[in-house]
Amino acid sequence: MFSVSVSAQTRKQKKMAGYVMGNYEVECMGTGMDGTQLIKVWGYGKKPDVAAYQAKKNAVHAVVFKGINGGQPGCMMRPLVTKPGAEVQHSDYFNTFFADGGHYLNFVSQTGDGTMDRVKVGGKQYKVGIVVAVKHADLRRELEAAGIIQKLGQGF
């Protein structure tokens, strides 16, 4: 199983993906408070801390661009951004948003006691899974304000 997982993270893919690795795993853990969803997400890194940091980035990326289609009920199955090509079209904005220490950190927080699932893959890489709360309602408002998605009923 691990060999499959490692082969899925080739060096070429990492280069292509930009600020996140496109093939991260994510699953729904349930509904949080109003406008929040709980997600278990995995990240990769040379150290567990780096992988956990990447996982938070992946969580926000999943809510914005992928939707959460696996796991328990209660998460948004549709992504916030549904327009094809929007990630490329607004690449300047998203490169800044998802930069290390970027604005995306305002919308994600680790839940529980901070424990993480840690798997060593290959000789120098860790795969770390954490449960995070993503404030998707605030995230939607942020993207509306940035003009990336439309406010519900905009134009009427």
Binding site: G30, T31, D34, G35, Q72, P73, G74, C75, M76, M77, R78, L80, T82, H136, A137, R140, Q150, K151, L152, G153, Q154, G155, F156
Partner: protein, 318 residues
């Protein structure tokens, strides 16, 4: 100078007012399925056939869970910038309006005129109905909620948005909490689909239904031929051509064509008229009425609208 400033302000204001398309109204109602399963129905005798209708008033007065769920959806939609029409308030308004119409009189003793059609149209209505269904499932000591929200276009009858699912089973959680969780879990997916519908509307025009009919006092029917723009065409064909010319990319379909009635479905009308004003069905059809009022047709026509989404043009008289 002051007058000039006022004029500029007025023009800017007018432009911004006209640049807004007409906003559809949305209302959450319990589905017929929910009302019948929970016993909130009333029987209605329609010419000898007994019909079962949902009794929304009774349901709202007795089911706190329903009221809470509707209230939660209304609140969340308002938070997202799209306040809804509240069903309970709409029902109360209709009752109040009926009482006021019956009581109100002029100084000389005149009362307010209301035709049977006016009475019929005095119902709780919205352009988009959010139809709500939920079932509390019991599996031994565990309970879960199956939740379904359907966004229905009231005039085309199409489902334009939806979200449904069953929540996690729980031993201890109370029904209102399970329902609240269900609303939280589904409302944003629903809204995302609703936004897709609005985007389609802005791109391809508002979808309406249009019928044209004939009063039995009329001297013509839709098979009457006229010489119009150098062609001999039936009145119905001339109307069909007008619809083609006045829809977004000529989009419509003719579902019925007889000498007495022509039904057009999936008619896509532009959101704005040629002067940039927000369009609606009445405004859209006015030009056709004017055209038919002039030679060679010289026909009086009555326009009858059903909310934002359906319009009838009845040829023969007003």
């Amino acid at each position: 100078m002051r007058n000039l400033l006022l004029l500029v302000t007025f023009i800017l204001f007018s432009f911004s007012a006209f640049s807004q398309a007409k906003k559809p109204t949305i209302m959450v109602v319990p589905s017929d399925n929910w009302c019948i399963k929970n016993g909130y129905t009333q029987m209605y005798d329609e010419m000898g056939t007994m019909k079962t209708l949902p009794d929304y008033k009774m349901a709202l007065q007795n089911e706190t869970d329903l009221l809470m769920t509707i209230s939660k959806i209304n609140t969340m939609m308002a938070d997202r910038g799209f306040p809804l029409v509240n069903l309970e308030t709409a029902l109360k308004n209709i009752e109040q309006e009926g009482a006021e119409i019956a009581m109100l009189g002029s100084k000389s003793g005149g009362s307010i005129t209301e035709s049977p059609i006016d009475v019929l149209q005095r119902t709780a209505n919205a352009d988009i109905i959010m139809q709500l269904t939920y079932v509390v499932n019991q599996n031994g000591p565990q309970r879960s909620v199956t939740f379904m929200l359907q966004g229905l276009d009231a005039y085309t009858g199409k489902q334009i948005a939806g979200a449904q699912g069953t929540g996690n089973p729980s031993f201890a959680t109370e029904t209102p909490v399970l329902l609240e969780e269900a609303v939280l879990a589904h409302i944003d997916d629903f809204n995302s689909r609703l936004q897709d519908h609005f985007n389609d509307l802005f791109e391809n025009g508002r979808e309406i239904a249009f019928q044209t009919r004939i009063f039995d006092t009329s001297m013509v029917d839709f098979e009457e031929e006229f010489d119009y723009n150098g062609e001999d065409l039936e009145l119905g064909e001339i109307i069909e051509d007008w619809v083609f010319d006045n829809t977004v990319q000529g989009r419509f379909s003719t579902s019925t064509y007889t000498e007495n009635v022509i039904r057009f479905d999936q008619v896509r009308i532009p959101l704005y008229d040629e002067r940039g004003r927000a369009n609606d069905t009445r405004r859209w059809i006015r030009d056709l009425r004017s055209m038919l009022g002039k030679p060679p047709f010289s026909q009086e026509c009555k326009i009858y609208t059903r909310g934002l989404g359906e319009v009838w043009l009845i040829v023969g008289e007003k």
